[in-house]
Symmetry: C2
Subunit: 191 residues, 2 copies
């Protein structure tokens, strides 16, 4: 998606350790007009696919998913990151390792809000090693819900999450895929 | 706001300890159509007030603020809850006690995204004891930004956060104010 690529070139900052900071428009300050364009683009990319729920993960996925959901006319469920353990069996849980925060958290979704009747589009801001997505996919599996596709804002194409998930036959649409980036020059190359 | 009050009566669950669960439409599964109506209502309530930024706090505020922001045509900044300390002075921080989670977290906003030029509307899902709001207000003060008003989805009128904030002269608009609620009968009375 040209608009997003241009915005990343303009406002994204490449840091050492394969970190791309896009906090000025994506995940701290949120450009809601851009989110609307992203929502429209996912709608176009998933045209004809039956979707009755969007699943995302706190915190940075929520704003993007909420705005995008308007084009699909479906509710959004966001998975919560928590240290709380599932004592009463009322929640689906998965362990997720964070690339940014270098820690492991439990990701939970209430069983009330996901079930075999659900045809789900997952939306998130970043895809790098794919751990968060695989956690959400595990939760969908547990719930008996159908994964209809995944919409990602920015995929780090040089990490292997995207390849691994596409190999499973999942329709994964990333609006911008970064082929390479260089912290010393600030250069970003898109696929 | 009648629509929100009716939804709370229909789908809200009163639990012991003054807990109101609205996770089926507000803060776990998000009803985006309802969020749009809430956004329109805040726009009406703050008509004529100059606002160039919305500030909210992760995680449950984000979806509501992102959808509401479309009616104000402004970006949203969400404060992050973090244990990270502000070593380099690049962030505004405040300590916030959570009523739900019974813990204290640091709330942080990057200095890049708030400054004296900002006329801010704070949006959040709940107001109970007001600690989260007071944390955000402290951050605005530190930033030299102007607080133009606060939009809350559900205020627990029987806790004193709302009174304390209104006494400071802040324009605080809660779309539903709960006067009392009873866990044994499930009854909810609105102001």
């Amino acid at each position: 998606m040209k608009l997003l690529e241009e915005r990343i070139k303009k406002d994204g900052v490449v840091k050492e350790g394969n970190v791309l900071k896009v906090d000025s428009f994506l995940n701290h300050r949120m450009d809601i007009e851009l989110f609307n364009e992203m929502g429209k683009e996912w709608k176009r990319l998933f045209e004809g696919t039956e979707i009755n729920k969007i699943l995302t993960i706190e915190a940075s996925g929520i704003g993007i998913a909420a705005v995008a959901a308007q084009y699909f006319k479906v509710p959004v469920v966001f998975a919560k990151k928590s240290k709380s353990v599932n004592l009463d069996g009322s929640m689906y849980t998965a362990k997720v390792e964070s690339f940014t925060h270098k820690n492991v958290s439990d990701v939970i979704v209430s069983k009330k809000f996901l079930g075999p009747e659900d045809k789900v589009l997952i939306i998130d801001d970043f895809l790098a090693n794919g751990c968060a997505l695989e956690g959400l996919m595990k939760i969908l599996e547990e719930a008996g819900a159908k994964l209809q596709g995944i919409g990602i804002a920015i995929e780090k194409g040089f990490q292997d999450g995207g390849r691994r998930i596409r190999e499973k036959g999942v329709k994964l649409e990333s609006l911008a895929i970064i082929e390479s980036m260089d912290a010393s020059t600030g250069e970003i190359v898109f696929r």
